[in-house]
């Protein structure tokens, strides 16, 4: 059996320390150990994107990442962190406004892809917006309303939240 690993991460802007077996999936550390249950598990095989989070600026699926591979000091953003940012709140409102969520299970991952795309501050086009969500599967909406929500949020995206 493996020894426990301790990590201190900045999760949604807050410093948190947690101890876990290093092979434990980041998804399980977030949901089970830290009780951040906004992040969902869909397929567990990296196909559906429901468990998408941002680690040190990179969009990843937390079901395929051994938490021990995430170094001390890493900055993690989950769906719970969205409402702490202006862009996140804008996206949430836009998703609601456009009726982008139906059953809602894919949305915590989907909206992380939206946030990651828009916060990069790069030029956008419909193909770029679509491709940025290609790793997130939704079985209800047919995606159109999600794309509308992202496009609408992009128009009002706060300049302060565009980073490289």
């Amino acid at each position: 059996m493996n020894p426990e690993t301790e990590r201190t991460w900045i999760i949604n802007g807050e410093k948190m320390s947690v101890t876990f077996p290093p092979g434990r999936r980041l998804l399980d550390v977030l949901r089970e150990d830290l009780k951040l249950t906004g992040t969902k598990e869909g397929c567990g095989e990296g196909e559906c994107g429901a468990c998408t989070v941002i680690v040190d600026g990179e969009l990843i699926v937390s079901c395929l990442l051994a938490a021990g591979q995430v170094p001390d000091g890493a900055e993690i953003m989950t769906v719970e962190g969205l409402e702490k940012t202006e862009g996140g709140r804008l996206l949430q409102a836009s998703y609601v406004e456009k009726g982008a969520a139906q059953c809602g299970f894919c949305i915590p991952g989907m909206i992380m892809s939206s946030y990651h795309l828009l916060s990069r501050g790069e030029p956008l086009s419909q193909p770029i917006i679509r491709e940025a969500h290609a790793g997130n599967i939704c079985r209800c909406t047919g995606y159109e309303k999600i794309m509308e929500a992202v496009s609408a949020a992009a128009e009002h995206w706060p300049k302060s939240e565009a980073k490289s």
Binding site: M1, N2, P3, T5, P21, P22, G23, R24, R25, D28, E32, G44, E45, G46, E47, G49, T52, E58, L59, I60, V61, C63, L64, L65, A66, G68, Q69, P71, S113, H116, E131, A132, H133, A134, G135, N136, I137
Partner: protein
């Protein structure tokens, strides 16, 4: 409450700080299993298709595996370079445009961010998205152990179904590709049930040069039609020196279909794959007659 162990939760995880340290760990009597982006290994362990290894060796944090460097007519890509990193690299965009196309259709954004070129090769799948390109770019795989490094041409590196020329104490450290020669063109096409997040039914790559309507050189490779990605030597030998005419294209299409021996599996049938192998070759050749619009990309199709 006890929770059952998921995926590789019971595995120990080694986190070497440098390549020499990693190679020393690989030299132990029972070497650990290398773990790069996890986009194959973690899936296989979670799905029960693979027994979780007792010890994993994380490659993610090794600085030596991350670089992409151009030299003369080659580009050396560190095994730890991610698909996303490759896709956005200025030298790769110019020198290996077909590779950019291929990595752009791996999974979705998350998988491209996590998966690495070395990991794709180490997985050894006949449906892997990268190996067919490496075949047409005459790539050389660099592997290392504490005993030293070996340079292995990709066609020798891919031995058989999920069998590669890599010893238990070795790590893949880099892949060096020949850049697209002056005046040549290359491209790629993948057919799957949908554009993103799909494993291919069949895919192919080509690199060729046509001067004044005559085929000067033509390399073509296919994935998902044999135990490993393959080149089509009969088709290539036939094409060199021929005029780019409908007659030539039709014969190349026939030869391509005749020369592959695919199997039927959950993703497609042997008959369909044989037919599409010919159609891919036709499409690649036809792209030269339509000007320089690049490859035709990826598309979903009815299964």
């Amino acid at each position: 409450m006890s929770v059952s162990l998921r995926c590789v939760e019971a595995s120990d995880l080694l986190l070497p700080g440098s390549l020499p340290e990693a190679l020393a760990m690989m030299a132990e009597p029972e070497p650990p299993t290398p773990l790069a982006g996890g986009t194959d290994l973690m899936v296989q362990c979670e799905a029960g298709a693979r027994k979780p290894p007792a010890r994993l060796l994380s490659l993610k944090q090794l600085p030596e595996l991350k670089g992409i460097d151009e030299a003369d007519d080659t580009i050396r890509i560190g095994a730890g370079a991610t698909h996303w990193q490759i896709r956005n690299h200025a030298d790769v965009k110019v020198g290996l445009p077909g590779l950019v196309e291929a990595v752009s259709m791996v999974g979705g954004r998350q998988i491209q961010t996590m998966g690495t070129i070395g990991g794709s090769l180490a997985n050894g799948s006949p449906a892997g998205d990268i190996a067919p390109y490496l075949l047409i770019a005459d790539a050389v795989v660099e592997v290392a152990s504490i005993e030293g490094t070996r340079q292995i041409p990709i066609r020798n590196f891919l031995i058989d179904y999920r069998k590669i020329d890599l010893k238990p104490n070795e790590l893949i450290v880099a892949v060096t590709c020949k850049v697209l020669p002056e005046g040549a063109k290359e491209g790629w096409r993948k057919l799957g049930p949908r554009a993103a997040q799909a494993i291919s039914k069949i895919m192919g790559n080509y690199r060729g040069k046509i001067v004044d309507g005559v085929i000067e050189s033509f390399a073509v490779s296919l994935g998902s039609v044999a135990p490993t990605a393959i080149r089509l030597p009969e088709v290539e030998a036939f094409l060199v020196g021929k005029p780019l005419s409908e007659e030539t294209i039709a014969e190349a299409e026939r030869l391509a279909s005749a020369s592959v021996k695919p199997i039927s599996d959950i993703r497609s049938t042997a008959e369909y794959r044989k037919w599409v192998a010919g159609r891919l070759v036709r499409g690649f050749l036809t792209s030269f007659t339509k000007g320089n619009e690049g490859s035709e990309g990826s598309e979903g199709c009815e299964s």
